[in-house]
């Protein structure tokens, strides 16, 4: 069933932030809230009214809606358990990346809509960082396309294999890079700290200072959904051919939970970069991607 993927992504995103929070609290020696606490917070936000700044226009009101729907539509492109997503076409990874960029575009202009200095600051940083990280993702996908000879998510995942040592090396590099890309895209440590308490050092969180009620709920749920969508990019590597749907779901759940735990642990034991160093750290992901590209190129030319 093609819709399994999207349903699983939505289900996992309900607990995903809960797992991260729980892991972080255990790592720091606290008991921590329940797994569903972030979702309960969102539910409570849904019941509340909202306050809009008198500076804002309709852009501010539609931006969260568009942000959420870009991420949900991106999720429709992802394959699941050796089955294509609800939509699968040549070059769908381009559409995936670009539709997510549309969401960012609206969040950025919504932040500028408030006329707040802090939100302008966050907007500027978000625009810069998402610009810097994009090439790394594209070169990575181009490498996979070259490796497998296909250009859609479904075909790439379906025909990827790790035969030689160089391929394993490239695979390790690729997963490291994908992990870093995910951390940048989701505004997590070490690039941005969602739990920071100073507006001056925030990136993503400072952009949503003025959102409230339904809008904030949407944005929070979207962040969680975005994490799972990117996690699906990783878990798709592990669906070996000819497995039953139940095993597939189990693998998916396992990888996502593991991914959340890794994120939680990684965030517990490291500090964020200084903001000025963020640029360099993010730019560095592109050369790593190029390295992956070149090593895959070596494998291909060696084989043929």
């Amino acid at each position: 069933m093609k819709a399994t993927g999207i349903i699983m992504i939505l289900l996992v995103s309900l607990v995903f932030p809960g797992i991260i929070v729980r892991v972080k609290s255990i790592a720091s020696g606290r008991k921590g809230p329940g797994l569903f606490q972030p979702m309960l917070d969102i539910l409570r936000l849904l019941k509340k009214g909202s306050v809009y700044s008198s500076t804002t226009s309709f852009i501010f009101k539609i931006a969260p809606v568009i942000y959420f729907s870009t991420i949900l539509s991106a999720a429709f492109l992802l394959p699941f358990d050796n089955q294509p997503g609800l939509l699968s076409f040549k070059g769908d990874f381009i559409a995936f990346s670009y539709v997510l960029a549309l969401g960012k575009f609206f969040m950025i202009i919504a932040a500028l809509d408030t006329g707040s200095a802090f939100e302008g600051m966050g907007a500027s940083r978000e625009a810069l960082y998402s610009m810097l990280v994009e090439p790394a993702f594209f070169v990575l996908m181009a490498s996979f396309a070259m490796f497998t000879g296909h250009t859609s998510f479904y075909e790439i995942y379906n025909s990827i294999y790790f035969g030689s040592y160089i391929a394993v090396f490239a695979g390790i590099l690729a997963s490291y890079n994908l992990f870093q890309i995910i951390m940048v895209e989701n505004s997590r440590l070490p690039y941005d700290d969602p739990k920071t308490h100073l507006e001056l050092t925030m990136i993503h969180e400072v952009m949503v200072l003025d959102n409230s009620g339904f809008d904030l709920a949407l944005i929070n749920f979207a962040s969680s959904l975005k994490f799972v969508v990117y996690g699906t990019l990783i878990s798709n590597f592990f669906f070996t051919p000819d497995i039953s749907i139940f095993l597939g779901i189990l693998i998916f759940l396992g990888i996502q939970v593991l991914f959340a735990i890794v994120v939680g642990i990684a965030e517990s034991f490291r500090a964020r970069y200084k903001l000025r160093n963020n640029n360099k750290a993010i730019v560095l992901l592109t050369p790593i991607s190029i390295l992956i590209f070149l090593s895959i190129l070596m494998i291909i030319t060696h084989q043929s």
């Binding site: 009214g49 909202s50 609800l86 670009y98 006329g115 707040s116 994009e134 181009a142 009620g213 190129l297």
Partner: protein
């Protein structure tokens, strides 16, 4: 098609009409010319048969053919679309110039007609010398249009700069045409086939490429664009940026039709120059303070994207990879149409802003969305489209070009794969920078609270100004959501270059309909969630309040981020490449009570400063030595003529000439 020769007679009416009727007559005349030429263009596209007619003039005994083939037909349609909207937009915009005389207006609209007419002729004429004449009329008429506000010295300076650069281009084109005529004795475009089959292709191609490239604005031949576009009235900027610079692309595409050998080198040259143009254009655009200058730099970027498509296509042709060729050319040529749509829309909406605020300084504006909601929406959609984001048209052409890259990842040789990877990388960087730039432009100009310019007197543009802009908006959305309607045409155009016997059916190249489904899915989800929001908002308290200032309540508009501060983190890292100049006198220690100071930054084009200014300086040094001839005394000049006459007589007597 003979009727085209008589059309110019109608343009002289401008000198008889009173001032207030001229803009209406201009719109009418534009629609007549456009409808007529579009009729022939549609006929060519629907039937696939080339229309040719010989007109009763000749050049040195060579007949002049008016020919509309598929390539011309496409460009004619693009020209007409943008020029019609420009003529309609001009009606309100020109009424802003109350102090200009009737003659100024007549000359302006007269040139407007001739710009349109010469662009159409450039696409139709198949005699190279007549082509050069049309090309020259295009340059001169656009020069007159640019210097409409000729009371400002910087406008005249920009205009002269433009005129000189156009003539350097024309010189190169003339040289190329003479070379071909010398070798083949024919002036028809198809003479190029003969020339290219017998000679080295790269030399002549480079002559044409640089000649056309100056018009198109490829880096480093782009330096006229950022001066001319801000100087011109906005509807002219829109037309120049939307279609006139595409005539350079038309010329390159026309020449490429006949290229025979060294195709790979040609493709790589185009690709590399385009990549540099794309990145340099958008990279410089971000730090501009002048909204029209920003848009001018984006034209350079988009010419770069078009060139990336064409270069990729050429590499596909050279390596006999039909799929790559079709994706490259298809995407590049589609981007010609797309860019003409969203760039003219951006200029027109900027023009509406300028009409009301009389400034183009981004940092002075703000909060316009509350006073000009229509203009804001138009600018927003065009911004999203130019960033290449779905569900608008810019995405479709970039998606096709990206697919070309992905395709060549699979089937090209190792060297080409690496080249394509870097081209893909730069296209991604261009996209990211464009998002950075247009979030800034839209966010600062239209959102937040008004900065230096107060918006009490600002009004929305009139309906007849918004109407042509909404037409463009509809086209942008239709191409973005239902690209399948037109992509067939572009794959057909691309097929002109592949020379392949088998024509690949469009749906095996790309599943274009899935873009439609994706766009519809996205729109559907958005609408659903918006309804959910409306339903949830019922029976809830929706309040208005001040922006959250992190416990600081003294909100003023000065606290807001400005365009400069928004781009600061980028500009800081890119300082060396951007060649930024700061005018600021630091406060010395002994100055206890500092005086009022000004802080001014601007970016100068690296190519202009490091390359052209140096060449010009050394040329001036050389030419200054000849200045002794120019004494300013009439007697001396009469003597020169006399000496020349004597010399001629002597030479004739001795049979030297």
């Amino acid at each position: 098609m003979k009727v085209f020769i008589l059309l110019p007679l109608l343009s002289f009416l401008f000198f008889l009409l009173p001032k207030k009727f001229q803009s209406y007559y201009n719109a009418l005349l534009t629609i007549i010319v456009a409808a007529l030429s579009s009729y022939f263009a549609f006929e060519v596209i629907s039937s696939g048969v080339t229309l040719t007619e010989t007109i009763p003039f000749n050049v040195w005994g060579n007949q002049i053919d008016l020919t509309i083939d598929l390539l011309s037909a496409f460009f004619i349609l693009v020209i007409n679309l943008t020029v019609i909207t420009g003529a309609l937009f001009a009606i309100e915009y020109m009424s802003m110039y109350k102090l200009k005389s009737k003659t100024d207006f007549s000359l302006h609209f007269f040139s407007f007609f001739w710009l349109l007419y010469s662009m159409l002729m450039v696409c139709m004429i198949h005699n190279m010398v007549a082509f050069l004449v049309a090309w020259e009329i295009m340059s001169v008429s656009s020069f007159i249009l640019v210097i409409f506000e000729n009371e400002k010295p910087e406008v005249i300076k920009a205009g002269i700069n433009y005129l000189v650069q156009m003539h350097i281009g024309a010189l190169l084109l003339t040289t190329a045409v003479i070379t071909v005529y010398n070798e083949t004795g024919s002036l028809s475009w198809s003479a190029l086939t003969t020339y290219f089959s017998g000679h080295n292709n790269i030399g002549l191609f480079l002559l044409f490429f640089i000649g056309f490239g100056i018009k198109a604005g490829f880096v480093p031949f782009h330096t006229w664009l950022p001066h001319a576009h801000p100087a011109a009235p906005t509807h002219i900027s829109g037309i120049m940026s939307g279609v006139m610079i595409k005539m350079g692309i038309y010329g390159i595409l026309r020449v490429l039709l006949y290229a025979q050998s060294d195709l790979l080198t040609i493709g790589i040259i185009i690709l590399v120059i385009s990549v540099i143009s794309g990145i340099a254009g958008v990279g410089t655009a971000i730090i501009q303070h002048d909204l029209k200058k920003l848009l001018a730099y984006h034209s350079i970027e988009n010419i770069g994207i078009i060139g990336i498509g064409i270069g990729t296509g050429m590499i596909g042709v050279a390596t006999k990879n039909d799929l790559l060729a079709i994706l490259g050319f298809g995407g590049g040529i589609l981007h010609v149409l797309n860019h003409s749509l969203f760039k003219s829309l951006l200029f027109y909406s900027t023009g509406s802003v300028y009409m009301n605020t009389h400034t183009r300084e981004i940092d002075k504006l703000g909060g316009l969305i509350k006073k000009m909601p229509h203009t804001a929406i138009l600018f927003l959609v065009a911004s999203i489209a130019i960033c290449g984001l779905p569900p608008f048209n810019g995405f479709v052409s970039e998606f096709i070009i990206y697919n070309g890259f992905a395709e060549s990842m699979i089937s090209s040789t190792v060297g080409l794969k690496i080249l394509m990877m870097f081209s893909m990388l730069s296209l991604v960087v261009i996209g990211g920078l464009a998002i950075f730039c247009f979030t800034k432009a839209f966010g600062i100009v239209f959102l937040g609270t008004p900065r230096q310019i107060k918006t009490e007197t600002v009004k929305e543009a009139k309906w007849y100004t918004l109407f042509p802009q909404y037409l463009i908006l509809i086209a942008i959305i239709i191409i973005g959501v239902f690209p399948g309607i037109i992509t067939g045409l572009f794959f057909r155009l691309a097929g002109l270059y592949t020379h392949s016997v088998t024509i690949i059916p469009a749906n095996t190249i790309l599943n274009i309909s899935s873009i439609s489904w994706f766009a519809l899915l996205f729109i559907g989800i958005t609408v659903l969630i918006y309804f959910a929001k409306v339903i949830f908002a019922r029976n809830k308290v929706i309040e208005q309040g001040p922006t959250w200032g992190c416990a600081y309540t003294g909100n003023t508009e000065k606290l807001q981020y400005t365009a400069s501060s928004y781009a600061e983190n980028y500009a800081h890292d890119m300082d060396n490449l951007l060649n930024q100049k700061t005018e600021y006198k630091p406060i010395p220690a002994e100055e206890i009570f500092p005086h009022k100071r000004h802080y001014k930054t601007h970016s100068e084009s690296l190519a202009e400063e490091k390359l052209f200014f140096r060449i010009i300086a050394s040329m001036q040094k050389f030419l200054n030595r000849l200045a002794f001839v120019q004494t300013g005394k009439t007697q001396h000049y009469i003597m020169y003529m006399f000496v020349l006459l004597i010399a001629l007589i002597l030479l004739t007597i001795f049979n030297v000439i």
